[in-house]
Amino acid sequence: MSLLVIAEHDNAALKAVTLNTVAAAQKIGGEIHVLVAGSGCAAVAAAAAKIAGVSKVKLADAAHYADQTAENLAALVQANAAGYSHILAAATGGGKNLLPRVAALLDVAQISEITAVESPDTFVRPTYAGNAMATVKSADAVKVITVRSTGFDPVAAEGGSAAVEAVAAAADLGLAKMTGREITKSARPELGAAKVIVSGGRGMGSGENYHKLLEPLADKLNAALGASRAAVDAGFVPNDYQVGQTGKIVAPQLYFAIGISGAIQHLAGMKDSKVIVAINKDEDAPIFQVADYGLVADLFQAVPELIAELG
């Protein structure tokens, strides 16, 4: 049995999520090949060849793969699908755009965002915004799967030595033409959309402290900044920072509550966060009842340490 993993990259570098996808492929079992399709992406193929557990890298290098448009890529994958029992990609914007198209071309179902592998044909995936985990079994000959990276520990980026084999590019379908791409870099993410949020409460003591301590931390984590109402009322930060019942409701992957006691009105706005970290000097603060990781400490010491530790 062989599996094909579609590499995620930007022509220059391999994206780390590919390592989680390979990990999922390993769970399924079999010989793992990686397809690198792009333009001037030999370095990516070289990196893919080093991934632990990968036995072959197929490289399709052509100008019309530079923009990773789904139409051209899907045709290429279809042309190279023969012999594979599974085709996998990361459940990123790119993978989700591409794989359903591949599946339809192969006349098979696609299995979205798996978080666990039960057997080569049975997988676990979240539905209803993660409120119900479905275990699904595929009856198709080829399983086309996107992989949620948080479900699988990445394999080692080094240690393998797969051969890189060039494959022929498929024809340019000319269905889509890129006219612009904008990657937002420096600006801090919005509260509502952020994957990580750093919130400060009255414990920050002043607006000056809030900015001096929390901004560098947020920069390190590419996080949005939030606050408790007490911090807003005290004038540390503007209104639109407020998280809670009467502020914004957020559910990031990671939420830091720093100097926040954890009043129910505040909890109402953040209790659905995936991981909650609380830093508070009062070990009985209610925030610790919902925090996955609680650190009882003076924030004026702990936050600078944390920034340093994050490197």
């Binding site: 019942q245 009467t246 129910i264 109402a268």
Partner: protein, 596 residues
């Protein structure tokens, strides 16, 4: 701040199973109102209420309407919301299709209005008053007046007001002193001051159409000398465009306990030479027209009662599920949400059961109103009209009085947080407070009920209604189970209480009107409680039939349990009220005024 989710399920249940939307849809002219269309209307109205109006409820309360230089500025967001409301065509839902309305039944309008009122009571008063003015013009206006005003008012481009009250003329409109002087060209100049005029001025629409009660020169004294005039803020040119600013100005607004976003205006007519208006209908018939319209207005205010109680209930329920405090009274390892405490449960059930009873009563009266207006059979029209006339003061008086009790419970469930304005629970209580006052106080409703609606006709209509209630009681007797036994007994005792009190009123109104009138409000409440219980019992019977037909919807067992609660906690008070009616007159009037 609180969210509002229209109770669509209960609304639809009442519309279908108790008020008979399918029968209403068979009335001439209402054929469009098929149950599935009504479902879509409720669904979409609910989205608008929850999405656009509800978010402005709290901010509108905090900011309030403001007044400067004889003009009112509405709180942030109201103008945009109103424009959206009007453009979506909601204003014309029940209005005549000939002038651009959708001509839907009162019954549909009742459910939709409940949503506007619950989501944002202060906002809802603007379309409410406009609707009142539309109805007055539609009923008594000339063709010229109708074509000038109705299309724009129905489209919501112009709003309307009702200018009745004056400083010396509140409950007693006979004391009105505003003057109307004929100009010889068919127009009149209006002079006088009106107070408490809801939405007398605002910045949400391009024109405001004031309907004003005033006296012509040489008009007879008292109620028989009052005429109705239409006085626009901006005069309307022959081509329909807006002309000169009329001499009708808002000279101040009141600072109130509630409905802060609804401007309550002192209106000065004619301070600068006279406000130009035209007479609506016949001279000296103004109050008669007002009385015809009054049913609609009083019904609408009654709906405010159930609407605010529903909002308060949703608010309190959400808090009760979230607030952790104390252990379960029967023991628990950890602290529990307060919804587990029996006393909180009792309060929530009190709110829930009364809300459902009030809604059922109001909507069934709305359906009777539709039948009274459109039924092809004259006798049916008459029968329904008599029922509507009897129940209007009850819908107005009982629903609004009850909402004051229920919004109070809403605050109580919140504990200290309820007393804190920011929680928002107090707003519902403050907003509810006006509902028992305007459009005729509860006292005035109760006088109307016992006098004109019962004593004057020797109790004929109420006896017929009691007969219908007894039929429901008989059906209850045939149901199995302890719950139905409780409901049957409680309803039976309640009906007996109403019957005895009504007999007392009919027998004594003529010879001891003072003593009987002491019991007017208790009787109004008694009739409300029992009529509400009657509708709850009908609901329980429907639920029972659904369960018997193997419907697994948990809504139905909940309906029966809620009815049972109502029987034990609400219907059980009927006997006490009947006692107050029958025996309480003497005590009420025993002290001489000088002895107070």
């Amino acid at each position: 701040m609180s969210a509002y989710t229209p109770p669509l399920k209960d609304m639809q249940f009442v519309l279908r199973e108790l008020a008979g939307i399918d029968k209403v849809a068979q009335l001439p002219g209402y054929e469009d109102a098929s149950p599935d269309l009504v479902d879509s209307i409720l669904e979409e109205a609910g989205k608008f209420a929850g999405g656009v109006l509800a978010p402005l409820n709290w901010s509108g309360d905090q900011e309030g309407a403001s007044w400067k230089d004889k003009a009112v500025t509405m709180p942030a967001g109201f103008k945009a919301a109103y424009t959206q409301f009007a453009e979506a065509g909601w204003n014309g839902l029940s209005c005549d299709a000939a002038y651009g309305g959708q001509g839907l039944p009162k019954l549909v309008s009742a459910a939709v209005q409940e949503m506007w009122k619950a989501s944002n009571m202060a906002f809802s008063l603007c379309p409410l008053l406009t609707l009142g003015a539309i109805e007055a013009l539609h009923l008594s206006g000339s063709d010229q007046q109708k074509s000038t005003y109705l299309p724009n008012m129905i489209a919501g481009k112009w709003t309307g007001t009702m200018n009745l009250t004056e400083p010396q003329a509140g409950s007693d409109l006979a004391a009105i002193r505003s003057r109307a002087v004929p100009q010889g060209d068919g127009t009149y100049k209006i002079f006088g001051q009106k107070i408490f005029i809801t939405y007398g001025d605002h910045d949400m629409a391009e024109n405001i159409v004031h309907l004003v009660l005033a006296r012509t020169p040489n008009a007879p004294e008292g109620v028989k000398g009052i005429s109705l005039f239409v006085v626009p803020k901006f005069l309307v040119n022959a081509d329909g465009s807006l002309g000169a600013r009329n001499d009708a100005y808002c000279v101040s607004i009141e600072h109130k306990l509630g409905i802060h976003a609804s401007p309550t205006c002192v209106m000065a007519f004619g301070d600068n030479g006279g406000a130009i208006g035209t007479m609506v209908g016949q001279e000296n018939a103004g109050l008669k027209y007002m009385f015809i319209m009054m049913n609609a207005a009083r019904f609408a205010v009654g709906l405010e009662g159930v609407a605010l109680s529903e909002r308060a209930y949703q608010h309190a329920l959400a808090y009760a599920k979230e607030r952790i405090q104390g252990r379960d009274i029967a023991g628990s390892a950890a602290s529990v949400a307060i919804v587990h405490h029996p006393d909180i449960r009792r309060m929530l059930m009190q709110m829930k059961s009364l809300n459902e009873a009030m809604r059922a009563l109001a909507y069934t009266v709305a359906a009777a109103h539709d039948a009274a207006a459109r039924h092809p059979d004259e006798a049916e029209r008459k029968r329904n009209q008599a029922y509507v006339d009897l129940m209007i003061p009850v819908v107005k008086g009982w629903l609004t009085e009850t909402s004051n009790e229920l919004t109070y419970l809403g605050v109580q469930i919140h504990g200290g947080m309820g007393f804190v304005e920011e929680t928002g629970a107090a707003q519902h209580q403050r907003d509810a407070r006006i509902t028992t006052i305007y459009e005729g106080t509860t006292g005035i409703q109760a006088n109307d009920l016992i006098g004109r609606k019962i004593a004057r006709e020797g109790g004929a209509t109420i006896k017929a209604v009691i007969g219908l209630m007894r039929q429901t009681e008989a059906e209850l007797a045939q149901q199995p189970g302890a719950e139905f036994a409780v409901i049957k007994t409680a309803l039976g005792k309640g009906i007996t209480a109403v019957s005895e009190a009504a007999d007392y009123i009919v027998a004594n109104y003529g010879n001891d009107i003072r003593a009987v009138s002491v019991g007017a409000v208790p009787f109004l409440k008694l009739l409300g409680i029992v009529a509400g219980g009657w509708q709850m019992a009908r609901a329980a019977l429907v639920a029972q039939a659904k369960i018997a037909a193997n419907d697994k919807d948990p809504f139905y067992p909940a309906k029966i349990a809620t009815t049972r609660f109502y029987a034990d906690h609400v219907l059980s008070t009927a006997a006490g009220l009947a006692h107050a009616v029958v025996h309480g007159g003497a005590g009420g009037m025993a002290l001489d005024v000088a002895m107070f």
